[in-house]
Symmetry: C2
Subunit: 200 residues, 2 copies
Amino acid sequence: MMRADAVRNRRLLMDAAAAEFAENGMDVSITRIATRAGIGKGTVFRHFDTKEQLLAEIFSDRLEELVTAGLRLAESDDPGAALFEFMTIGTEIQARDRSFCQAAAALSRSESAVHASRERPADVAETLVAKAQRAGAIRDDITGLDIVLLLSAASQAVLSISEDAPGLWQRYLALIFDSLRPQNAHPLPTAAPTRAQFTG
Amino acid sequence: MMRADAVRNRRLLMDAAAAEFAENGMDVSITRIATRAGIGKGTVFRHFDTKEQLLAEIFSDRLEELVTAGLRLAESDDPGAALFEFMTIGTEIQARDRSFCQAAAALSRSESAVHASRERPADVAETLVAKAQRAGAIRDDITGLDIVLLLSAASQAVLSISEDAPGLWQRYLALIFDSLRPQNAHPLPTAAPTRAQFTG
DNA sequence: TTCAAACATGACCGAGCGGTCCGGTTGATG
DNA sequence: CATCAACCGGACCGCTCGGTCATGTTTGAA
């Protein structure tokens, strides 16, 4: 059982870290984060052994948010729309924090803690895709893993644009939607990535 | 006129830096780069005032490569295929160096030297798009800037996959191709980015 | 109210960074 | 071959970073 002040500080810490990561990228100092949270530097390391672990924890939270939404959408009786909304939510989450998710994704190749938390969204995406394909809403040659990878693609597309382009990511997500529809399907040149490649 | 050893070292330096950036991201130390090039650390700063300038120079080189290809393709009499090949080349260049281009793109918001070098590919893309649209090869509601942004999207999609997935980016580029065809066009929810937003 | 365990704190550490600088070296020039 | 500006190299500087630790403070159960 954690003490009351400990849980309060942990919450403050994660919020401050998320905000700071989002604004200034992954290389903000622990000192900055601690200051923003109104907390001593040492306290940070009481809660998280290392900086990467802190980042992984936040990233994991974000993904859980997506998983929750995905599970709800899996009950929908319009599988095509459900998948599209799943992707919209996922992209919105990533677009919200800009460079943070980018850093986390890049880190997921080396940091296994980050890596593991990416499995669950992939599972959810897999079932959503399967349902949508059975309903004929999307083409047959794509997988759940494709969806997860395309999520970041849409939000990363706008990375080089100036800050104030709110909702621009929706433009590119809409384009990707169009590419998933069965009417336009041309054969894909490369096989889908395997789960082993994703999990590393 | 530069001395012979100076130009030789500059070449060695840029090659080593490009390789190191590609392998280890943007935060490799100058020392590492210098060592890899077999050159003293001080020499690096003789050629490039700052680390960002070095990165900008390399990035600019890559973009020039793309511009050259684009100008050649602008002469083609199959504008649709020309645009697609332009995108293929652009994505290949970015995929070749993985995290490097990501870092450069992120830096382009703050570093004006990097920024300026992105204008020319945008110009070329604009003319390629215009020709392709006149030929009816692609939908009318996208711009040259869209193309430039989508270039990074495809290569960034595979960022969280393990190293050895060569050519996987082609899969997602093919998907994007499908989304550009006029047959599938659904109205886009957000207006295209303006040149001012891009140039910052 | 008491008190031990859990927690917070910030001075402190070693390492590594980007960038500087000057003594020695090299290459073009006549 | 002689000369000298251009060039190279790496010790060096100031600084910031992630992470530790001894000391003081808070909490909650008894």
